[in-house]
Amino acid sequence: MGKTTNVVYPNQIALLAFIASITFKVVMLPQYFAGSAGRAAPIAMAYMMAVEVMEFVIIYGVIKRTSLLEAHIPAALKAAFILLISASSYFKTVVLSAEAVSYISTTLFDNGLWRLIVLAYMPCLVYISYKGGNVLARTAQIVFWFIAVSLLFNVLFAHFNGDTGNMLPVQFSAEIMKACDRHMVWFGDFTPFLFLTVARPAKPQKVRLPVMIALCFAAAAGFMVIFITAYGGGSIMVSNAFNKIAVFNRISLLLGTVDFPTVCSWLMMSVIKLALIVYGVVEGLTYFLKKRLAVALLTGLALSLTLFFGITNMDVSYKIATSPVRYAVGAIEYLLPPAVYLAVRIFDKTSVQFDSTKVDVDALREEGKCREGKG
C-alpha cells in the first residue's frame, strides 16, 4: 500500500466540505425539521448552516497553519482533542450510516437487506479512510462531476409545483431553537478536517473555497425552502426528501419514479461523507495505536457490529441521535475547533499561516511541504 498523506489542496477541501456538509441534510433531516419547526424549518436550517460555516472558518484557520496531528501543543491536550474527535466521529458514523443504509434499502432494492448493505458499504469506507485524507480528497474530486451533473440535470428539468406561501407566516418562535437543539448531530461535520493540512501548491492557484462554502449554505437552506414550498405541512410525512424532490418524480406521467441519477449521485456523496468521518476515527486511533491497517479493520468491524446489533431500524437511530449524547457530540463539534485554534496559536509558535496564491516555492521545497502539480 502507498504512503498515507493528509495533505490536501484548498480546492479539494472545498469539494470535500461541500459534500460533507450537504449529504445528510437533504434526506431525513428536512422531515425531522419540518416536524419540529414546521413552516419555520428553513430558518432553522439557515441558522444551523451559519453556525456550521463559522465552524469551518475556524477549522480552516487551524489547518492553514498545521494539522492537529503535527501541531506542537502539549501532548496530553493533543491526545484529548484527538480522542474526542474520534469518539464524536464514531457516534456520527453510526447514526448517519443507518440513514444511508435505510436510503439504499428503500431506493435501490425492494426490501433490501440492511446487513448486506452494511457489508457492501464498510469495505469501501474502511479502504478510503485507511488510505488517508489525500485519497479521500482525490475521490471527492473524481465523483464531484457526476454529482454536479446530476444535480444540474435536476435543476434544469425540474417541473416545480409548489406554493411559496407554505412558508408564511415567518415567525421566529422557540420551535426553531428546539429543532436546532434536537437535531444538532446532523450539523458540525468538519472536525475530521483537523487531521488534514492544506497543501502549499508549487504554482499559485485560485482558491474557490469561499464560493463553495457560500454555495453549501445556499444549497442546504435552498433545499429546505423548496421542500417546504412543495410539501407544506405534508413535509412531516415525507421521509426521503432528496428522492422525492428528484426530477422524474415531478415530470413523469407514465414512467413513475425514475430517479436513478439522484439515487446514484447521493450514493457517491454518502460514501465520501461517511469515509470522511470514518477517517476521523481511523486517523485519531492510529495516533494512539500506531498500526493503521489494524485500526482501520477494527474500526470497520466495530462499526459493522454496532450497525448489525445496535441499530435495528431508523427509529432506534433517531432515538440515539436525539438522546442526551447529542450534547456531548455538539460540544465536541462546536467547541473543540475554537479550542484547537487557541491551542495552536498559543503553543505552536512554528506554525505560520500561508497564502496559496503567494508561494515561496523554493523555501517550501526545502521544508518538504510542497507538492507539485495542480490541485
Binding site: 425492494d110 409545483n161 407566516p169 412543495a230 407544506g232 405541512g233 405534508g234 406521467l253 407514465l254 413513475g256
Partner: protein, 383 residues
C-alpha cells in the same frame, strides 16, 4: 514466504482484495430480492375498496414479456387481493399475481366510497409513507366500488387508469376536473381546516360502434365522468360537490387551459366561450374577508356575423358581464356548499393565517368559516 512472493508477482494483496470485494458484491446482488423485469407485474392503477374488516385491492397490471415489444407487446390484466392492512394486501397482491407487484409506476389510485368513509385516512397515510408510490400519483374517489372504475371498458384506451390519468393530467387542464395527487392531498391536509378534494369517478354505459379489424366485438363501452368532486376533511368523507360547484373549485384551486363557459347571448341564446387560461389568487382583505381574484382568458367560439353590413366578432359588454357572472356564480356556489357543511374548501383560513399569524388563529375555532365573508372578482380577457 514463497506464497508471498508469488502473490507479489501477481500484483500483491491489492488485487486480491479487489477480487474478493468484487465477488462478495456480486454475491450480495444475488442474495438481495432483485426480481428481473419479466418477473414483475407493473401496476399502473390500483383500486382500493373496503370489504368489511379487510382492505381489498384490484390492480391493473402490465405483465412484461421477455423480449419487450418486439415479442408482441405486453398484457394488461386486473389482479385482486385482500388483507387486514394495506401492506398485507400489497404483499398478497404479489402472491395472487405470481410475480412481484411493482408499484413505482402506479399513476392512479382509485378509492372506493365505503373505504373513504371508514379507513380512508389510514390508507392515504400509507400511500405517502410507502417508498413505492410516487408523490405525483393521482387520487380518484369512486362513486361506488373502486374496482368497477378500474375495470371500466373505455373506448379510446383499453386501460381505464391511463384514460383517467390523461383526463386529469394530460396536456389540457379542463374546468371542473379537480385533479389531486398524493402530494397535493397531504399539503392540503395540513392546511388550516384541512379540507381536501379529489374527483369522483362515475362509470356510465355508452353507445359505441367499433371501427376497424375488431368491429365484430361490439361489447359496448363505458365512459368515465370526473366532473364532480368529493370534498374530504381530516375527519374523513365530507360531501360531493355538484357539477357547477366543482367547476367553481377548479377556477379557484386550479390553473386551467381548457373547458367552456356557457352564457346567454344578447339574442337570448345559449352560447359558450373556450377557456384559454385561468388563474386565481386569493387576496386577504381583513381578518374575516377574502376576495378571489380570477383572471380568465377566453376565446369566442362563434363564427363572425354580419350586422348592418359590418362583420361583428366581439362580445358585447352585457355578454362579458354574463360570462363573469357565470364564473363568479360557480365559485360562490362552491364556497356556499362548503360553508353550509362548515368546511373551508378554498383554504381561506390558511391564507388569513399566512397574513395575520397566530394572533388570528388563537381566536378561532373549527367553525371559523362561518364568519368569513367571501367575494369573487373576475377579470375577463377575450382573445
Amino acid at each position: 514466504m514463497q506464497r508471498r512472493q508469488r502473490l507479489k508477482r501477481l500484483g500483491g494483496y491489492k488485487w486480491l482484495i479487489i477480487v474478493v470485494i468484487a465477488v462478495v458484491l456480486i454475491g450480495f446482488d444475488l442474495l438481495a430480492d432483485n426480481a428481473s423485469i419479466v418477473n414483475r407485474g407493473i401496476v399502473v392503477g390500483l383500486a382500493i375498496d373496503s370489504g368489511g374488516d379487510l382492505i381489498e385491492l384490484a390492480a391493473q397490471v402490465i405483465l412484461p414479456r421477455s423480449g419487450g415489444s418486439a415479442s408482441g407487446g405486453n398484457d394488461f390484466m386486473i389482479f385482486t387481493s385482500s388483507g387486514e392492512t394495506m401492506q398485507d394486501a400489497v404483499e398478497k397482491l404479489s402472491v395472487s399475481m405470481g410475480v412481484k407487484a411493482s408499484l413505482s409506476h402506479c399513476t392512479l389510485v382509485v378509492l372506493g366510497g365505503d373505504l373513504l368513509r371508514t379507513k380512508g385516512d389510514t390508507v392515504l397515510k400509507h400511500l405517502i409513507r410507502s417508498p413505492y408510490f410516487a408523490d405525483n400519483t393521482l387520487l380518484v374517489a369512486a362513486s361506488g366500488k373502486a374496482k368497477e372504475v378500474l375495470s371500466a371498458k373505455v373506448p379510446i384506451n383499453d386501460v381505464a387508469s391511463y384514460h383517467m390519468q390523461r383526463m386529469m393530467q394530460g396536456v389540457q387542464r379542463e374546468a371542473g376536473v379537480n385533479a389531486c395527487t398524493i402530494k397535493d392531498y397531504f399539503a392540503n391536509y395540513y392546511y388550516i381546516g384541512g379540507a381536501n378534494y379529489m374527483p369522483v369517478a362515475v362509470v356510465e354505459n355508452c353507445e359505441y360502434t367499433p371501427v376497424g379489424p375488431n368491429k365484430e366485438s361490439a361489447d359496448g363501452a363505458q365512459l368515465l365522468d370526473l366532473s364532480r368532486t368529493l370534498v374530504l376533511t381530516r375527519e374523513g368523507y365530507g360531501f360531493v360537490l355538484d357539477y357547477d360547484a366543482s367547476r367553481g373549485l377548479s377556477f379557484v384551486k386550479g390553473s386551467l387551459n381548457d373547458g367552456t363557459i356557457i352564457f346567454v347571448s344578447d339574442c337570448s341564446e345559449e352560447r359558450d366561450v373556450v377557456i384559454l387560461d385561468s388563474k386565481c389568487t386569493l387576496s386577504v382583505q381583513s381578518e374575516d374577508e377574502v376576495v378571489a381574484k380570477v383572471k380568465v382568458k377566453v376565446k369566442r367560439n362563434d363564427l363572425p356575423t354580419a350586422q348592418d353590413g359590418m362583420i361583428v366578432n366581439a362580445l358585447s359588454e352585457r355578454e362579458r358581464e354574463r360570462i363573469r357572472e357565470s364564473v363568479r356564480g360557480q365559485i360562490l356556489a362552491c364556497f356556499k356548499e362548503g360553508q353550509k357543511q362548515d368546511i373551508d374548501i378554498f383554504h381561506l383560513g390558511e391564507h388569513i393565517y399566512r397574513k395575520y399569524g397566530e394572533e388570528w388563529r388563537k381566536n378561532q375555532n373549527k367553525l371559523y368559516i362561518r364568519n368569513i365573508a367571501f367575494d369573487v372578482n373576475v377579470e375577463l380577457t377575450v382573445k
